[in-house]
Assembly symmetry: C2
Homo-oligomer: 150 residues x 2
DNA sequence: GCTTAATAGGAGTATATACACATAAAAGGA
DNA sequence: TCCTTTTATGTGTATATACTCCTATTAAGC
């Protein structure tokens, strides 16, 4: 008999990697958003500011590769930070390209945000255990690889 | 000296649980969206249909608890499936409540989608190893607990 | 040099997500 | 019964995300 003749056991979907990853992503994103709320930024925005700080001056597409984020998503996310004066986007030599930089205000904000991030990371590390957290991060990376080579 | 006098080492943020979880979430969501694209639904929508199938008839807030999703997010996500005739939302005895159900079309679609999900899950399980995947899911759950009790 | 490819980016649209605020109905207490 | 509180839900708004289609510019072949 073929699988189309059997009734699916949908309870198996409780172990779906996508479902559980999205669930955790929602919880963790809310956690980090709350951490950074006193500074008026979200977790995503902190990560983006850090990425620019570490790579600037950087082209839009290079930054998207670095953060493994869709180029158009990055554009929309950066727009908010540009409007707040935390990032700048300027034309490069190649007239097609855009250079992304972090402003003095952006760096100043990052210096306030970093201790908050450290505390948050410390809570997670303490709660899970440092070794388990390290394994978890490696598993996340492996999962990304598997999903992109299937 | 206090931490405010030292220059932050932003490279440490490459181990940020939030950053890496969001990154993996983007990759995995794209993977599942591609899996279900032939059927015209997204990974999130498959998960939601399964959740309703497993719990129907169910109240909106109960379903939100089950999926650990914000109630208003659920409302918006369901709206799309209701418009496609895959779910129904009807008034309950208590005039405040809404009963969520899956339609015959919804069940029919699920039966086509389930084998696709099985194949996707098998790919991930084979790529990571079943045992590592099981540990990973447990870690995700632990992370959610830590983030919600901090 | 001219034509064609590849590259960098933007805009339109759609879904996923959740916070703040508002409303209606049920439950509980005096 | 009436007042207060709790509960269930909807709406407005904002961010995060990515796909499709489009334009401008550069690089590559001939």
């Amino acid at each position: 008999m073929t699988s189309t003749l059997t009734t699916p056991d949908y309870r198996a979907c409780m172990t779906c990697a996508g479902f559980n990853l999205r669930k955790a992503n929602r919880a963790i994103s809310q956690f980090y958003d709350e951490v950074f709320r006193p500074l008026g930024i979200r977790g995503t925005q902190y990560s983006l500011l850090v990425a620019v700080k570490l790579t600037a001056p950087v082209l839009l597409t290079q930054l998207a590769d670095y953060a493994q984020m869709d180029r158009t998503t990055l554009t929309r996310n950066m727009e908010l930070l540009v409007n707040q004066g935390l990032l700048t986007v300027s034309a490069g030599k190649d007239k097609r390209t855009r250079n992304v930089n972090i402003t003095a205000d952006g760096v100043e904000l990052l210096e306030l945000a970093y201790p908050l991030w450290q505390q948050a990371q410390a809570k997670i590390s303490a709660g899970m255990g440092a070794e388990r957290l390290a394994h978890f991060l490696a598993d996340l990376s492996a999962l990304v690889d598997v999903s992109q080579h299937s």
